[in-house]
Symmetry: C2
Subunit: 301 residues, 2 copies
């Protein structure tokens, strides 16, 4: 999985810092997650091909997470896009985007599908043979979802020497890869584990922004390969975090620890902090593997 941070700063765009947007590239997909103002410029800057984006996931309808969406949708049209585009986001997103396109008499030539969300339970938004994308209900001032992108378990790998030694007919190979025990040419039942190797562990990426401290998400993100968790504030401003339903670095790290994820990526920093390393230091008191998101940074896991 390759995660490109297009923006990771809270609230207002600054000339040197962009609001939230990120690209997750996995199994041939290029998923866009959130779309703050200026996302189309950040996509250009970081050389992400517009035509590869077919699914956009919007966490919530605060401006720093979606004001760039209508511009991107319009630009796709100007570039002559033909491929369908799917947008997943809170109820109301369709009206907000379509109203603006209608006012400009610039309806898209490509097919635009809105998948409006209002459930408070986890739902699967997208699924194919390789991957699934589901919501993670979050706790914020307005209706908000995180998203978890999960690779599916691959087939088992044939241990070709063991298979040949076990005298199994080649016609069974595909059944074996699916994990079945099979009977060999001598009529003996062969234990699948003895003739196959474990496939690579499926990876998963959980995106949780914006949210107050919310232990209810732990079961949804348990053992994720990487967790991006917002940390708008430091513990020093815990009162503000509570008031605005955001999290501190310590709270993000507590979630990461209790969900036993492998990597914690912090982001969505309030503009009040000059030294972002303070977020890392605060989180590292609770959890070891902490990375800081930064505009333009790429994480591979």
């Amino acid at each position: 999985m390759k995660l490109t941070i297009l923006g990771c700063h809270a609230a207002t765009p600054r000339w040197d810092a962009s609001p939230t947007a990120q690209i997750l590239q996995v199994k041939g997909h290029t998923f866009l997650i959130d779309c703050g103002e200026g996302t189309q410029v950040q996509l250009r800057r970081h050389k992400i091909k517009f035509s590869r984006i077919k699914h956009i996931f919007i966490s919530h309808l605060h401006g720093d997470h979606f004001f760039g969406l209508v511009g991107l949708v319009s630009t796709f049209r100007l570039l002559g896009r033909e491929a369908d585009l799917h947008i997943y986001g809170p109820k109301g997103i369709k009206e907000a985007i379509t109203l603006q396109l209608k006012l400009g008499k610039s309806w898209t030539d490509y097919d635009l599908y809105f998948h409006e969300l209002e459930s408070l339970e986890t739902e699967i938004l997208f699924e194919d043979e390789n991957i699934s994308v589901s919501t993670i209900p979050l706790k914020h001032r307005i209706y908000t979802n995180g998203f978890i992108f999960k690779e599916k378990e691959s087939e088992r790998t044939l241990d070709i020497n063991a298979v040949e030694a076990a005298n199994v007919s080649m016609s069974y190979y595909s059944k074996i890869k699916q994990g079945h025990d099979v009977v060999n040419e001598d009529g003996v039942l062969i234990d699948n584990k003895k003739i196959t190797l474990d496939p690579p562990k499926p990876k998963s990426y959980a995106y949780c922004s914006d949210t107050a401290y919310n232990p209810a998400m732990i079961s949804k993100i348990a053992s994720a390969t990487a967790l991006y968790h917002e940390t708008t504030f430091l513990e020093l401003h815990k009162d503000l975090a509570e008031k605005t339903k955001h999290s501190t670095a310590k709270e993000a790290a507590t979630i990461a620890k209790n969900a036993a994820v492998e990597i914690l990526i912090l982001g969505h920093y309030s503009g009040r902090y000059q030294d972002l390393n303070a977020f890392k230091l605060e989180a590292e008191e609770i959890f070891t593997n902490v990375l800081l998101a930064k505009d333009g940074k790429v994480f591979e896991f």
Copy 2:
């Protein structure tokens, strides 16, 4: 008058070129004209104080002229703005902005006034003792207005030596500055012109974007100090200009010449042209005083 170009490129934002927005500073006002995506970042970059902006004029509801408005309105709120804000633009603009604020439950704390336009005739949008702002109906694919900012004629300046020599009572000085002839202490009628000097010629700035070639605007902008006229295309692509209701550099220059303006500023260049100087050269075949807009450029006139 001081004009700062925040963006002057057509259609989609690029990492090195912004869509339309400009700031006109005149007689203590800071007027924002159009507001493409990323305008708030450009305002920061060019150190324009957000709190000074009290009037925003939107020409039309194509994205490259207004997709930055909702973000700016939201940022004003986050910065604790208290002053009123007036937005002038085509009917529909209020619904587009307020719907998005409502979805984010982030209504402004300051008073936001929308002045929705639908007239096909010139109207005065704003007026005080120093300046007036009126619409210039334009010809584009959707309802569009240009704007003309006109300084008012100042009072006449007393020619103090002449006034004293004419033996006029000081109690008449304010009448004299207003241009009246007065009777002096000896009962003689004194011609105003003989005891006053002409005030400086009032300046005016006309903004015309987006528009097809439209001679109907000439009477509205006659003798303007400066005219910003769109030139999306060169004559080479006159067919595209006609099809999309934009202008060529030659057409912009023809308008400038026939309106006898002092300066023509070109902008709203299509992304297809690498060398912007071609616009200047084409316009200079018709009109002498041609300047090219460029992101960040400041014009004083």
